[in-house]
Symmetry: C2
Subunit: 193 residues, 2 copies
Amino acid sequence: MEDSIYTALKKRIDALSPLTEEEWTDFSSKWKHKTAAKNEYLLKPGQVEGYFYFVGSGVIRVFGEKGEEEINVGFTYDNEFSGVYDSFLSQKPTDLYLQAIADCKMIRISYADLMNQFDKYKSVERWGRMFNAEMLIGVSRRQVEARSFSAEEKFKRLVKNSPHIFQFVPLKHLASYLGMTPETLSRLRKKVR
Amino acid sequence: MEDSIYTALKKRIDALSPLTEEEWTDFSSKWKHKTAAKNEYLLKPGQVEGYFYFVGSGVIRVFGEKGEEEINVGFTYDNEFSGVYDSFLSQKPTDLYLQAIADCKMIRISYADLMNQFDKYKSVERWGRMFNAEMLIGVSRRQVEARSFSAEEKFKRLVKNSPHIFQFVPLKHLASYLGMTPETLSRLRKKVR
DNA sequence: GTCTTGAATTGATCTATATCAAGTTCGTAG
DNA sequence: CTACGAACTTGATATAGATCAATTCAAGAC
């Protein structure tokens, strides 16, 4: 295998909008390798997100802060796209952090390069539309989830839907992701076990 | 003025991706008039959203239910797009309701027609990508808001950001939209006034 | 106009979850 | 291997907001 992260990327792109050989050659050449060590920040509040990431290995977390406390918005690992989308898409300063919470191997494309690819290829433009749609569907579902379920229900659903996340992400971060304190999550784990 | 709802639509489209005269003529011809009387349902759980709406006048609400209680997800009025996006985009059954809460005049385009326009015109495809991006940015922001702020803060922010919504939408719906009970919203109104 | 029905308010409780305060365990740097 | 700080757990208490219940208000039907 030549460079499996690109193979994984191609698979994810083709699933939404197949590219020709030629398009893929050009498009994939714009994605550059990037690594980040555990605890390294890739973006901090006030900065504009310049890149769109595809994570091959490692774990990324996106979080904001409200006063003292951190609010985790999401995690990425295992051949998934990552980044602070709203800042990337709007090219306005973020108020979120993007941080590696394990050593990460990634590839990434710059905003300018991606826009250029959108201009150049309708198939890439389509992928962009459909990717945004997928993200929108995901965020909408999570929004309803967060509102509809109690702490216990949310915990059980996470166990069911993303059992592996517990291997990658410390409980205190998951607690904040689920909108509860670490103490509450700890008690739920005991109770449900 | 010929038909102002189409003018408003054109303005919103052009803001993200300008269409040529020719493209607009074809594209706009796919949007058909639709009215809905107060309290009429445009979509119910189990159905697949077949249309994407542009609301000229009236008010639309999107909501789900958890047991007995309704959970309001959003409202549309005044030259805004509406619909149950996740079902429309995925063409899978929804678990939400789409309901007119005032007499509505709208135009709408069917899923098949819109996909056809995406195929036909790169500029429309681009509009689709950018529209999804805008929606994604909005939903992401609201997600962080819902998590970061207390009931009182959320109420104050709504007053500040969408003062007009109080004219259109009954308080009990707004309460559920803000993630609190009508009693709590009522007390906050008294307190803040 | 009055009747009806749901919306909004107000007050009295209740409860899920937060907060505060110790422990205990784990991971990792040396 | 040890030790130090962070992560996690556990218990006691506090509280924002929910729930329950009664009253007032307002808009559409007749």
